[in-house]
Assembly symmetry: C2
Homo-oligomer: 483 residues x 2
């Protein structure tokens, strides 16, 4: 009987749990599938004739246990229940020691293979958005070309740049900030922003604190600038460990910190708000510049959450982002709010690439101005959440026992911890032979950690081909442990 | 009597000189004006009933004396006769000593003022091409957006990048090279290319040989990378002095050389071919990497001339260019053929900005593919030649006695040597008060040379306003010497 819950006073179960059970059952029976929308709380409440607060409690319980996830301004959707997923990767505490970064050659090869058109691209962090983004973007591009024919005749047309930076400022409310357009410096993508920030905050030989695992682009930038990295142990759900960071700050002369608190690459976590606040308090107190990489921030499945920048009291957080992960990487449009480093960053920008593409700035500003961008983001979050969960289920199905896996709260990466006997780099090599590209875990650490880890990028529309590729990967791992 | 030259056997003047005189007279009387097309050699010959060789001799004489200038595939055009222009700047030989570059703050201010919309922009190196370029470009952009809707969904779509690099390779024949597309690395403008080449060829503290005066962007790049510069005396018509360079190479541990042999900024010279060859022989022999900046190369008034790269036997010339000066700076599209430094440059590109704007690459490739680009270039050369000459005449008219000025063979810069009592920086400051932006000479040298020099950028359509601005500048200079 689904329509009317029998209010069984004899059981110990509270009422909200009993009504939640009805949805749990529907999911279990396959009536509701992953990605389906569940009834609104209002409808659910009417249906079961319970109070609003009971209905809300039921939904919270379902969410806590991974049955459903909220998508802002769109309602709740069915997701893969946590209990059906394999465990999360272990947190690895370790001593934080400065390292000279030297993995660039391997990274270069891995990245090239990931982009190879013959590969099934679990390696690439692109192309994600695709057709949906192209439609939004091309509409805006056509408008710009027709209305502002002289769009590109100067370096970064002041009006162009202003239109773009005004939209960034407007959007900054969504992550808890309130920027002025003139505080923003536009860049050729977020990696340029990150390079400029590193150069503004530190010198060659200086030590920079990073998450581990961390996006390998950060490692390459640090290496190419002749700096050193110190890996701070990082929790797969909570981000960089504050105690370990504080210890490292005491022990080493750390000049800057690079972190990705929202939808981290590769672990997909969103650092809980309290920890974000504590992190900024700590680094503010010690006067350490924090370079915050927010390229996936708009892709948090449950909607935007705050940036570290929003807690910054001292202009010490340098917030970098771009439209490469959300709209189109070929645009080469990023930006940075560099706090007290603004002037230095702007000067460095001027002497390295002078300006950023004008047309792309105008087109992106056009997308953001109309509200089309917000609608698009809401769709995109749902799409990526579905893809990540579908891939998670396949991994759980085919990978050997002992495999662990993140439960990303945004973005489109899965970070997989394989049984210790399995070498991620060998998996990477063997997978290439079978035309599947993935990323080996070692490239996410300057000291060769994560030997038994791999990263899957789940930004492709799910297909039989991808399903088989996960099966292939699972088999490669099984072969390595002889199971 | 113009129709039929009296063949005066009594005068000592050879026949070609007598027929040339007819054109000289027409120019003198204002029948032919600066920028007008003169009759074709063929028509001229028929008209005067002389042999082809006499007609050719006459035209060569007119060209040598600055009455006319050839524009490839378009014929000869009237220019300002050399005798009506003031003298060229003096060549200044000096000791070449490595200098730490430290002028960036002033440069930053000057550049911002140059771009200020309220100014009459003799300072800015943009916007030049304008409407003509916008038409060509927007036609191409619309095609790309319609035909390749997914143009920007990856980092630098391999096909996109290939289409662009194929056109660069094709165009390389025009300057004496024969590139393969895969040898080219695309960049976000030529300044990025230049930065990457500097980083590939030298390290912080290393010494780099430069022209003097040199484009200040080179100085800023050298400074921001912590390198040092050594200024090699540079002739206003022949470029960097080879003897002085050889001496400097012997004396100092020079790691690279940055030069602009075609349409140099600010002096506008095109280094004679023999000297280009000798320059490359010298640097090849000594194993010195040469970073060749060719951003104005397509704008040589007499058509393309060879790049240093075309003489390079050892892969030691790193040729950088872009479409910022020729098409539109807002595109942020440049490229580099880095010879034996290719892989290193590509890796550095990857770790600083990953890729270059895809749409702009496709649009530029579209422009170049159809031949529209070559036609456009021919028009543009004529336009800039006229503007530079018109400005030259105005300078000769209004500036104080003792002023000297370059006779640019391409680009749109005029380099003016003022009487020694005049301070270019004071002229710059005073001119700003009157809403005229220029560039003071000192920012073109890391050691504060060219105190009595200024640069005028003549890329605007000539107007009464510009004419008055030159008059104002002349008056400011006169005031300084109390004349």
């Amino acid at each position: 009987m689904i329509r009317r819950i029998v209010r069984d006073e004899a059981t110990k179960e509270p009422l909200y749990r009993q009504v939640a059970h009805s949805i749990e059952q529907q999911i279990g029976r396959g009536v509701l599938r992953v990605g389906d929308k569940v009834p609104s709380v209002r409808a659910f409440r009417r249906h079961h004739r319970v109070s609003m607060s009971t209905a809300l409690q039921a939904y919270f319980w379902l969410e806590r246990n991974g049955y459903i996830e909220p998508r802002p301004r769109s309602g709740f959707y069915v997701r893969v229940p946590f209990k059906e997923l394999i465990r999360e990767p272990k947190y690895q505490g370790h001593e934080a020691v400065p390292t000279t970064v030297g993995t660039a050659t391997i990274i270069h090869e891995v990245v090239q293979m990931a982009a190879h058109p013959a590969m099934i691209p679990f390696g690439a962090a692109f192309p994600g958005p695709g057709v949906l983004a192209a439609e939004l973007l091309n509409r805006s591009l056509r408008k710009v070309v027709n209305r502002i024919p002289l769009h590109s005749v100067t370096y970064d047309l002041p009006e162009a740049s202003e239109a773009f930076r005004r939209q960034i400022a407007r959007h900054s409310l969504s992550h808890g900030c309130n920027f002025s357009p003139e505080e923003i410096v536009t860049t050729c993508g977020a990696l340029e922003a990150l390079n400029l920030c590193l150069r503004a905050a530190a010198k060659p030989e200086d030590v920079v604190a990073i998450e581990t695992p961390t996006y390998f682009g950060v490692l390459q930038a640090i290496q190419s600038l002749g700096m050193r990295a110190v890996e701070i142990p990082t929790h797969p759900r909570n981000g960089m460990c504050l105690d370990k960071l504080e210890n490292a700050l005491r022990k080493h002369d750390i000049k800057a910190c690079v972190v990705m608190p929202n939808c981290q690459n590769p672990m997909g976590y969103v650092v809980p708000e309290g920890r974000k606040k504590a992190f900024v308090e700590l680094t503010n107190r010690r006067g350490i510049p924090v370079i915050e990489d927010d390229v996936y921030g708009d892709l948090a499945f449950e909607g935007r959450s705050r940036t570290l920048k929003s807690y910054d009291q001292q202009g010490l957080v340098l917030l970098c982002s771009s439209f490469s992960k959300v709209l189109a990487p070929g645009l080469r449009i990023g930006w940075v709010h560099a706090g007290r480093f603004r002037d230095e960053v702007e000067k460095l920008k001027y002497v390295t690439t002078i300006a950023s593409p004008t047309l792309a700035q105008l087109a992106v500003a056009g997308c953001m101005q109309t509200g089309g961008y917000e609608r698009y983001l809401r769709k995109l979050r749902g799409i990526f959440s579905d893809r990540v969960q579908t891939a998670s289920v396949a991994v759980a199905q085919y990978f050997p026992e002992g495999t662990r896996m993140t439960r990303p709260r945004g973005g489109y990466m899965l970070w997989i911890e394989l049984p210790t006997q399995v070498d991620g780099f060998c998996v990477y090599r063997e997978a290439l032979q079978k035309n599947v590209s993935i990323m080996p875990g070692t490239i996410f650490s300057p000291s060769g950690r994560f030997r038994n880890h791999i990263r899957l990028s789940c930004n492709q529309p799910w297909s039989e081909k991808l399903h088989l590729a996960v099966q292939t990967l699972g088999q490669i791992c099984r072969n390595q442990i002889g199971s």
